[in-house]
Symmetry: D2
């Protein structure tokens, strides 16, 4: 990305004839309606994130960026979002500095509030339980940062694939038990007011997949497959069990002040899913 030094952020670029072009967005609006979120969506951008091991990982992010719009302004200057995101894409690694990103965004757009949503696949090496062979596995994650005045809130979302084995099927059947791929989806509001260790996607994922009948793995040899099969069978859980154990785990996670959870199992006996949702101290208006 190269931003020409002569015209950083200048909306009012002269046209080819050197004439100034009208700023329609900057005009007055008379309907008296201030808008809560105005911006761009489905913006694709490579973003570097800090991993728990300290190294950066470049993810292919889909971004939504928005600011509030006062009642008297007709429109937002949307190119400024892309300019900022492209600069950060090239120059910076995102992590603790999300507050800096939001503050910059609020200033560039001359707004009172600003919000950034990133959705991306995050790769973590996963080791098989017996053979110890490993391969990367991609987890669907979200980061949402919001600044309102000086107040910053940060949400972290993650989808953890796993498996569930049905306790009812196991209890009533002479042999076997139906099991299936499932997903644990968590949205965590990070506690930005207190001092505590960083909350890492790596730790949240590892903690959540322990609450399932069994984690899933990218690479399994036969000894691993035996281990996984037997672990599933001895650890039968309904989606209700998984979400209760995930609730217990998140209640004890330092730095997470409130959370929303969903577990959805792609039942192997139905074409529809078993689904459960539970939130604690969570305000969905944050979403």
């Amino acid at each position: 990305m190269s931003l020409l030094p002569a015209m950083p952020d200048c909306e009012n670029t002269p046209n080819q004839q050197g004439l100034s072009l009208e700023d329609v967005q900057g005009k007055q609006d008379t309907r008296g309606i201030s808008l809560q979120r105005v911006g761009v969506s489905q913006v694709e951008m490579p973003i570097r994130l800090v991993q728990k091991n300290g190294q950066p990982q470049t993810v292919a992010a889909t971004a939504k960026m928005s600011v509030d719009l006062p009642a008297h302004e007709k429109g937002t200057h949307m190119s400024r979002f892309i300019i900022q995101l492209a600069q950060w894409s090239e120059e910076k690694v995102l992590s603790l500095n999300i507050a800096e990103f939001l503050t910059e965004m609020k200033a560039r757009l001359k707004a009172h509030s600003a919000q950034l949503d990133l959705t991306f696949k995050y790769f973590i090496n996963r080791q098989a339980p017996v053979s110890a062979m490993s391969a990367p596995m991609g987890y669907l994650c979200q980061i949402r940062g919001r600044i309102e005045g000086e107040q910053i809130s940060i949400l972290m979302g993650v989808t953890v694939p796993c498996s569930t084995l049905c306790p009812c099927s196991k209890a009533i059947s002479d042999f076997g038990a139906h099991n299936q791929r499932a997903e644990i989806r968590a949205t965590l509001q990070l506690d930005t007011a207190h001092s505590h260790p960083m909350v890492w996607l790596e730790d949240i994922i590892a903690g959540l997949e322990e609450t399932a009948s069994c984690p899933v793995f990218p690479l399994l040899k036969r000894a691993d497959e035996k281990w996984v099969t037997e672990r599933q069978y001895t650890n039968a859980k309904f989606v209700e069990d998984v979400i209760r154990d995930a609730t217990l785990m998140l209640r004890q996670t330092q730095g997470v002040s409130c959370f929303s959870l969903e577990v959805e199992a792609l039942e192997s006996i139905h074409a529809h899913n078993a689904w459960v949702a539970h939130a604690e101290n969570f305000d969905a208006n944050l979403l």
Copy 2:
């Protein structure tokens, strides 16, 4: 759908040897966590809805159904959801009686709260503006009903395709102006406390598409295409303009007590979208 009269709703079906099968879901749970929503998702079912003209329309709905689960119960009896939905699919037309559906669901599952979400394409005949030729057009819609104790809330959601023509592009260009397909997405909380006329999807859709630069149509002849092109051009609107006019329209809609709106334009000059969101008196925890 045929439900054998001998065993309606009976979980404890004897197996083939006449033995009773253990009810694992009915066991005690000791973790002390009551769950907010437990049920089934991605259930596909034909559902008959009442149209504004009084005739039923059968839609191919995707349903999510859930109830709360007390802390001491291990699991929900999920087949009961399907039994009820299949019975209604065969026997009833859904409309004002959604309260009856929810009350029945709460009773069947012995729950305190119950929730039904339906997502479906709803077809409405759309007439071209000049030729008056018409064809069906499918609108993505949602209905959510929730009962909590005796309190019922109803949300109606609709996605209205339309077009926007950019006022900035029109003002600064010597000829032409970029325009594009856009979507207005509205979620309305219906006022169930007061007496007023029914809120119809047909009316909400018609009202919202008037707020765009121009509606879109399934069938246009040349005289229609000329009309649409000129209407777009003379009615230039940012997504910010559309959502403000949609806000004015919904404020005046009888029977709608609060609402959440989004407008997203598939910009013809970018691969990303312009996006705006605005809600009034709306509690996202309802979603």
Copy 3:
């Protein structure tokens, strides 16, 4: 749908001032390239289909319609596709008469070839194996008809959800065996040259799901769940086994002259899928 009798199919609709509007599509093209398929996609339309029981079922179809375009013509008159589809939506039931649909389409567009693709959910009542309780289940289906000169070809596609239980996992584990939801996807070219009984979606679906470890069902009570669990376990199959048995079944299906098959299992031990594809006498250029 109502088509005003005064102007059926007339492209050259006078505008409001009574002037004739230029037919740009009808102009000459000089690049010398005849195009294979020109038309409309993502058209949503209710379509009535004949069921095996003789009754019509209205499905919410997504249609793609196209014709060839000679080298000297600039464009196709796309509104004619919508006019025809809307008329059939209102007036006719689609089945054996797909040849009539294609012939009409070829004539309306003055083309040499014409093609119709419909994708839809098709509902079939499914009965549980022990309790015999039933509910509708939606199957993703496609119909493609193509006419080239006088030659008609018809493809029928169906996605059948089912389950597979892993023979390897069963053999190496002391107890249990991983199983999962899977999909069998078949595309069949119907034999339009010979006389034989109709090929019904109902029969193809029933035949294909027998080739899995077990079918899936919309509604299962406990005795059914026991039956399904034990059937899965005693009928362990890799995706390779399923596709081989599906191949044997389709080879013996009267009226199916060639086919393409895929089986994909949403492994409960991985976040990725096991996948297999096999075709016999099938020309993918038909797709």
Copy 4:
């Protein structure tokens, strides 16, 4: 990714008790059906690709990998696919060496044919036409490599967002013209038999977007927006025009022996799309 040196590729891993685990996949099959493609799908993996500028770009790829399976073998050893892909993910940069990848895959799986499909977003810096400001833009791309015996074929797929402005709307309207976002989708079979310069995604994308009414850009200032609007208007094209010009361009592209093209325009006057497809010397059985 770390692969333990002691057990590379060893299926027959001893279990925890030191016993050998049965190789069920390696058993005999008696149905007499050799399968064309057996493998894994929806595998997510970071892959490094060579860019035209010589630097590597890491993409978040979704992979499908398959081999043929002889009639007498019961199943494929699917973990070997993941082992190879993870090793390449860690150690290699993919480009000209796709033949090496396929040869290795064929050997690891002891197969006659092997196929790799990668789907990913590929980022290219795009410069605005007047301000010259730039930002990354993500293009959906595919690479398919296939080896059959010693014969290697390579397909390259790309989706290029762009815009079309309707010539009919422009001709019949007193002012304005409807335009919209569109997509050009090309699948190219590379000529591996002759010596010629490399075919680069960067060049194919640049060439294809020139065939539209106008390219789309990630970042536009007002002078750019004026340029884009006027370029669209002076360069009115049907989807039929775009595909004909794309055909002319690809016919002259060195290294491309045959191709398949689609153009789909998200019409701003309809909720459905205009669509056109055309292939030259292309065998869809390659897909």
